[in-house]
Amino acid sequence: MSAVLVVHGGAWAIPNDLAQASVEGVKAAACGGFAVLKAGGSALDAVEAAVMGLEDNGVFNAGHGAALNTDGEVELDSIIMDGRTLGCGAVSSVKNIAHPVSLARAVMEKTSHVMLTDRGANLFAESIGVATVPTEALVTELERTEWKKNKTYMAGVVEDFNAQAHDTVGAVAVDRAGNVACATSTGGIRNKMVGRVGDSPVIGCGGYADNLSGAVSCTGHGESILKVTLARLILSHIEQGKSVAEASQLALQYMGDRVKGAGGAIVVSPSGQWSATFTTERMAWAAVEDGVLWYGLEPNERKKEQLSQ
């Protein structure tokens, strides 16, 4: 069977001046992740590589480029999950780490736990020799300006959700062996309270992967995604026989109806079906399968590029 990798750069009202860079960013991350699959790497390796690429890209709200909390600090959340074993690793509210997704993977592989938070996650990083980076290395000029602009969270919440940066990043993949995996990483909501944990690191919300049904990575209004456990909800529809696209649409529609939340999700099934769906104005996404790069930003947009072999 053929391997597939899909990435997203966050579902929200991406302003025009970030549109081009967002699309270029997800295309590059999708190609980077797919190269891992092509070289025989696992789905887990591929989603980690793709998300690391997005974390390094200052355009996205994860790793470098993360949103700042109300104190002007960067606190990062991330999850990774292996559909073969249901093994999972996550970190919440971790500081001074360039690649939270890799730290999440280390939690999965080097501890008996699933999730480490705050200082404990940093102590663990230190114990396994993960280098720390100064906060300023993660902060872009744009984020510092935005933080100053709506310094109080109250100013933030009265704004339309869509006007806020919610651009969590994520990836899902299926490898040649039919194993699926997901990874999600974020800086969270701009001007969030100190210690706020969103959907991204919470299993079944920000992501879920199961070889019996598929893998999902979610983005959008975190508190809404949590309320409906969006990733797990999409997979339950797939378990009931829905296609990946139908399952995503049903679940996002439900989230809109029930808790008035907008968002997006990327999904792969173990047989290589995939979809990128959103109810926000835009979501930058890209997918690679069979030497073809697919990508889009607007609803129903689906562009295609042949990759050189």
């Binding site: 008996s112 736990h113 705050d118 706020r196 944990v197 456990t229």
Partner: protein, 325 residues
């Protein structure tokens, strides 16, 4: 059928010397939660009250009596969820708080967020004037002894874990048919600093939805997370399974897929309830129709009448001999 409250005091193996105290603790909590419902309180009020009583009881691994992490500190997790709105509040790895379940409810009621962690949760507590308590007030001699024992080079951590899990939780349905859940824990004995288990994770430690029901879980946290046990059980109920069958299906799946044992309390909006587990024991109690139900081993369902005039906070002694069904 309504109202109803069901509580658990954790799935695992309760040492014989502590079995009676565990049973009497869950019975007190069920009485307390039931009194709230009978007084016209919401299911959310009832589950928070029941879990608060269990947190204050040093025989359970939540609030006072929490297990210690590898450094000998207490870090607690809790969640509440309201099935009417799907709103939830949670705290993870929080310290120096006597009743994390109440702080979780404040996160739900007073912030636009659903989960606050560690120092941020404490900062939030301070901003609302929630009193901080010294860590020593949360530590029992028993939990200190077990922490030391587990640090020994020949300790068998898995065996010790099964000795006392003691996460506590409650589910309830009020007269209006609204469901709610609450779960609270000190986590896993000798866990790493900052370890977050299933308890504060929505869909794992608990879930509540007026359209299907409410669940609170206990057991091996990492296994519960891998199968999002609470949400899984409610999926089964959405597919038409009874509270009992759905609970058993979820627990069986967890055992076969990831090798973990645990227990759950489950209600549906009509007031049907179940307390199910595949561990050796789970202390549980339920209040419905003026009757208290309780048990510890599989198949047990002792009952006793609840005097409507009785103070719900009474009954700290062992439960009077019940009727075995």
């Amino acid at each position: 059928m309504l109202p109803v409250v069901v509580v658990h005091g954790g799935a695992g193996h309760v040492p014989r010397t502590r079995a009676e105290q565990s049973l009497s603790g869950v019975c007190s909590a069920a009485r307390g939660g039931y009194a709230v419902l009978r007084g016209g309180g919401s299911s959310m009020d009832a589950v928070v009250e029941a879990v608060r009583i269990l947190e204050n009881d040093p025989h359970f691994n939540a609030g006072c009596g929490s297990v210690l992490n590898v450094r000998g500190d207490v870090e607690m997790d809790a969640i509440v969820m309201d099935g009417r709105t799907l709103s939830s509040g949670a705290v993870s790895a929080v310290r120096n708080i006597a009743n994390p379940v109440q702080l979780a409810r404040l996160v739900m009621d007073k912030t636009s967020h659903a989960c606050l962690t560690a120092g941020g949760a404490q900062q939030f507590a301070r901003s609302l004037g929630v009193p901080e308590v010294p860590q020593e007030s949360l530590i029992t001699e028993y939990s200190r002894m077990r922490w030391k024992k587990n640090l020994a080079p020949d300790a068998n951590p898995v065996e010790c874990q099964m000795g006392k899990m003691g996460t506590v939780g409650a589910v309830a349905v009020d007269r209006e048919g609204n469901v709610a859940c609450a779960t609270s824990t000190g986590g896993m004995l000798n866990k790493m600093e900052g370890r977050v288990g299933d308890t504060p994770c929505i869909g794992s430690g608990g879930y509540a939805d007026n359209q299907s029901g409410a669940v609170s879980t206990t057991g091996v946290g990492e296994a519960i997370m891998k199968v999002t046990l609470a949400r899984l059980i409610l999926f089964h109920m959405e597919q038409g399974q009874s509270v009992e069958a759905a609970s058993d299906l979820g627990l069986a799946h967890m055992k076969s897929r990831v090798g973990g044992l645990g227990g759950v309390v489950t209600v549906d909006p009509q007031g049907r309830w179940a307390a199910r587990f595949n561990s050796l024991q789970m202390a549980w109690a339920a209040g419905q129709n003026g009757t208290l139900h309780y048990g510890l081993y599989a198949g047990e369902d002792f009952t006793q009448s609840m005097d409507p005039d009785q103070d719900p906070d009474q009954g700290h002694g062992p439960p009077p001999a019940g009727v075995r069904h």
